[in-house]
Amino acid sequence: MIDPVILQQGSDWRAQAEVFDEIFFIFLALGTLVGTIVVAYTLWNVYKYRDDGSEPKEDFDAPVVGELPTGQGGPKAKKLFLSFGLSAIVVISLVVYAYGILLYVEEGPDTADESDIEILVEGYQFGWEYEYPNGHTTTGEMVVPADHRVNLDVTSRDVWHNFGSSELRIKSDAIPGETSEVWFSVSSEEVEAQGGEATYRVECFELCGAGHSAMTGQITVLPQDEWEEWYAGTQSENTSNIETTSAGNAPSVDNAIIRGAPT
């Protein structure tokens, strides 16, 4: 019997998109609030203290040409530090909060490691190639099962690319000679909501040459059983490939299923 929702066994599991939306909303709300207050306050004061042609007030001490500059002190300076302190508190607390979430995003949800799917993503001018644990490769479309954590090892075979999907809120630099990591996961509820097959647009987010604009791809998420069927089908066409390249640890169907899809 397949454990239906492995990832949701952990109580704190959340998709990247969900995490992003929360933190983005909080920043947006606070940013808008602070921005509106500051801009409104400024506009109001600029209107209030406009030069309307009336006689200057007695305490208005107009500067003259050739004076050595001095600042204004007094109550305004106190206000300056108060405002500065308040804004510093807002900014620092936002970032501390965001940092806590960063640690989660970096680590990813705690899962039984053997249920993770490891896929090697290699960017090239102009497309993406995905290599599955059994050595099978696809280009353009990545096919993964729902309810599993998918770990991507992203690199490039020519220039600097950036692998990203806005809808999944994932992104990773693809740098020749370097491998960077990113994870994502889609729940089976989401797959069902999209009609049994969820698709996400992949784009390149780093200028990589004449075909950069068209360097798109797709992530397709299938229900687990359908994915297993698809994955088993990739085995036969890869057999020869595997024997010549990595005979030592050629994954069998069982092996792939154990690593990729526990039954």
Binding site: G31, F60, G66, E67, K76, G164, T179, F205, A210
Partner: protein, 832 residues
């Protein structure tokens, strides 16, 4: 020295070294590049009208995006700001001119000709198409093969050389020529912002110069730095962003300085917390060098470093908080006049607030992960950089009456502002709404089309608004109302105390703040009359007991008039431009076939134009350099000046120290690159390519030559011509010995061991590249030193330097520096 022709003569503008003339040249040239970059921006916006538009091909679109970025950041924003800096910093500090007028002209002409090079690159098979960030390895010829790509890189390198010269000039001027009584904390805020800018420029542009030189070496000579998988891509990222983040503040600070001036002038209030604003500016300048990796959060740098960079990034936003609140509180209880300059400065503050808040989003790493490479970033930096430049447009209106003596049309100015502000927000705010679009992409998600169309309309409104400004300025210059010396009610700074436009040598008499306010002091009256003081409003007082007038009689300056004209800055820059243009096509048209030895090596030249240009450029460079050195150009140091913290340092010496400081960064970048790549390749997997012995001998040769330079200085001080010639001659001989050993070593490497700049028979090719390029850069420094030493030798033979040994001393500083660099190179390339 030649006479300065009148302003109506074309020749005037080719030979002038006067800071106000050069300021005007900078401003007009920068506005031309604004149009150039603006047209490219409109091309981009037209392409974005539809999600699958194909008006430009993919490559042409990339070229437009790249050139737009490069032109706006390098050839518009900073030069526009430095037009005003040239014109007004000397006026604000009470100087007659910048410290080195010819060097200032050189910076301008390097800027202009680098822009010409960039423009030519469009016709050399297409300009660079790798984005203004020029990420590796898209920046190497394998992926961007056009000659024009190399042209754009060399244009950038040439621009950078001009900027470095300019930074040194402003640093010496501001630290060496402030009027008596103007302490460093007393400087007007615009000057303060320029001082912070040039300090950052000195180091940041040195890093860019190093990155540009390494890239030029990859593209012209065939080294393999940025295509190496041993960290080549990340190396570019580090070098570029070490420059790139300070660059944000380099671009923004002059605009901030304009805001700080204009807010005070048009509210009649002095700056709130002035001291703390200055401290904030200094803090930001230092911190700006500690945040660069926040541009690389998605690369493979580890979490600890990311966390550190996040903390420093948030840290750098705090001083800006304080500055913004200070600007706002300054206005309170003022008498705010809604003139065009104020509207632009105030608009800049509002735009900067939005740019700043959206920047906090990017500082949070989780959000940055998603915003990286999207239009959120594009929108944010346009709000910050172009939003800042909005204040500079205000500055243009503010200082227009001073520069031309005529008043601009206020109504047209306000219409310009309204259209500008609407267009600005339409184009850039829509980018926030369309933020999921990847940067530099024209086939985007169709759901976002509405925002992009809105943005395109805004871009045209924004572009159109500038034509109102051009019309306004042209019309007002021809037939505007006379503005008078000081058209503003609450201006404070010294430029408003003199006529509009100011006279060639700026001041009626020596400006002084010794009494706490600006006065013009007549120190020395030829007919023996009393010294006279005139305050900023023209009221005169006589002052019989001025000790300064006694003091100044000891100096023989008064019988010699300062020079204001020289053709050599233009000629030298032209020579560099020709040389660089030749270098662009070097690799494609000159092919070497390695034989058994140097004599059997074949050279095939497919297009002789480029090699010929190189030869003309090199000969021209040496010829104009010598003419420059021989020209009798008199630029006296300011006699009474505030010089903290460089009291007692002569101005040329100070300039030499600043140059060496910047060169330390250049070499530091080269050596860091060597260490970074070697670390990535596995430190212990590399053995030195060469034997240690020739390097050891060369170390002794150079150290000995440092000693002989000191002997030369001692001989010059003792007025011994023979001793001077002998020690200089020994230095030159030792220099040539060093080069000869180097040549022998390279010859052996190339022909016996098969190690060339792009191939290595004994290991990683990148190791060979690093060896040749790093020691080659040092070798070029030795060659330049030898050229100067030979020049000094000939002059010494003619009997110079016995009365004034300073040129020997300053050459010695340079030569010691080159020797010290070798002490770092030797262990890294010969021992370990």
């Amino acid at each position: 020295m030649s006479e300065l022709p009148p302003t109506t003569s074309v020749k005037r503008w080719l030979v002038t070294t006067n800071h106000k003339d050069i300021g005007i040249l900078y401003t007009i040239t920068a506005l031309f590049f604004l149009l150039f970059g603006g047209v490219l921006a409109l091309l981009i916006r037209v392409q974005l009208w539809e999600p699958t538009s194909q008006i430009l091909s993919g490559l042409a679109y990339n070229e437009a995006v790249t050139a737009h970025g490069l032109i706006m950041v390098f050839w518009f924003l900073s030069p526009f700001a430095f037009g005003f800096a040239n014109y007004f910093v000397p006026l604000q500090i009470g100087a007659d001119d910048l410290a080195f007028p010819r060097l200032n002209a050189l910076s301008y002409w390097m800027y202009l000709f680098s822009g010409v090079l960039l423009s030519i690159s469009f016709f050399q098979g297409g300009t660079l198409s790798a984005g203004w960030t020029i990420y590796a390895p898209l920046n190497v010829p394998m992926y961007t093969p056009s000659i024009g790509s190399t042209g754009a890189i060399l244009a950038l390198a040439m621009f950078t050389i001009g900027v470095t010269a300019s930074s040194i000039n402003f640093l010496v001027s501001i630290h060496h020529s402030r009027a008596e009584g103007m302490g460093i904390m007393d400087m007007p805020m615009f000057t303060w912002s320029i001082l912070a800018t040039v300090w950052m420029m000195l180091f940041a542009f040195a890093a860019l110069l190093a990155a540009g030189l390494i890239l030029a070496s990859d593209r012209v000579l065939g080294s393999v730095y940025f295509s190496a998988t041993e960290g080549g891509s990340l190396l570019w990222g580090h070098l570029f962003w070490f420059f790139g983040h300070p660059e944000v503040y380099i671009v923004f600070f002059p605009a901030l300085g304009a805001m700080l001036e204009l807010f005070q002038t048009f509210s009649g209030r002095r700056l709130v917390g002035r001291k703390w604003v200055i401290i904030s500016i200094c803090l930001v300048s230092v911190q700006s060098f500690l945040v660069w990796m926040h541009h690389m959060f998605l690369t493979t740098i580890n979490l600890e470093i990311k966390t550190l960079m996040m903390a420093t990034t948030i840290g750098i936003s705090l001083p800006f908080d304080l500055i913004v609140f200070s600007l706002i509180y300054t206005l309170i209880k003022g008498r705010i006049q809604f003139t065009t300059p104020f509207l632009f400065a105030f608009g800049a503050l509002l735009l900067f607030i939005l740019g700043g808040i959206t920047g906090v989003f990017l500082g949070a790493i989780v959000l940055d992960y998603e915003f990286r490479g999207t239009y959120w970033v594009v929108a944010h930096f346009h709000y910050v950089m172009f939003g800042g430049a909005t204040a500079l447009i205000g500055a243009a209106y503010y200082w227009f009456p001073k520069i031309t003596g005529k008043m601009y049309d206020e109504l047209l100015g306000k219409i310009h502002f309204i259209l500008f502000f609407i267009g600005f927000n339409a184009v850039y705010f829509s980018m926030f709404l369309a933020w999921e679009t990847p940067r530099r992409v024209f086939e985007y998600n169709p759901e976002l089309q509405i925002y992009h169309q809105f943005g395109t309309i805004g871009a045209f409104v924004l572009g159109f608004s500038f034509f109102i400004m051009f019309y306004n300025f042209a019309k007002s210059y021809v037939s505007g109302e006379p503005a008078g010396d000081n058209p503003w009610d609450y201006s404070r700074t010294a430029e408003w105390a003199i006529s509009s436009p100011p006279p060639l040598e700026n001041w009626p008499n020596r400006p002084s703040y010794a009494s706490g306010k600006l006065e013009f002091v007549k120190d020395y009256v030829p007919d023996g009359g009393p010294a006279v003081k005139t305050d900023a409003n023209g009221n005169g007082t006589t002052d019989g007991g001025d000790t300064h007038s006694e003091h100044i009689k000891k100096y023989p300056y008064w019988d010699k008039h300062p020079s204001h004209a020289s053709i050599w800055p233009l000629a030298l820059s032209l020579a560099v431009g020709v040389l660089f243009l030749g270098l662009t096509g070097f690799r494609d048209n000159v092919v070497f076939e390695l034989g058994e030895s140097l004599t059997s090596t074949g050279v095939t030249i497919s297009n002789p134009v480029y090699p010929i240009l190189i030869v003309i450029g090199l000969v021209g460079l040496i010829w104009t350099g010598v003419k420059w050195g021989l020209e009798d150009f008199y630029a006296p140091p300011t006699e009474f000046a505030e010089r903290w913290p460089f009291d007692g340092v002569e101005k040329v010496k100070l300039g030499m120290w600043f140059f060496i400081a910047s060169d330390v960064i250049v070499f530091g970048a080269f050596l860091s690159a060597a260490i970074f790549v070697r670390y990535n390749a596995g430190w212990r997997t590399w053995e030195p390519l060469t034997e240690a012995l020739p390097g050891l001998i060369n170390t002794f040769v150079l150290i000995t030559s440092s000693f002989t330079v000191i002997l030369a200085l001692v001989a010059a001080r003792r007025k011994s011509r023979k001793g001077l010639l002998a020690s200089l001659g020994a230095t030159i001989l030792l220099g040539f010995t060093f080069l000869a050993i180097k040549m022998w070593e390279w010859n052996k490497e190339i022909f016996e061991r098969g190690v060339t700049i792009s191939a290595n028979a004994h290991g990683d090719p990148i190791q060979a590249s690093i060896y040749y390029v790093t020691t080659g850069l040092h070798g070029i420094h030795v060659v330049i030193g030898l050229v100067i030493a030979i020049f000094l030798f000939i002059r010494a033979y003619q009997g110079h330097y016995l009365d004034d040994e300073r040129p020997i001393e300053y050459f010695g500083l340079y030569w010691h520096f080159v020797d010290i660099v070798w002490v770092f190179i030797f262990p890294l390339f010969y021992l370990f």
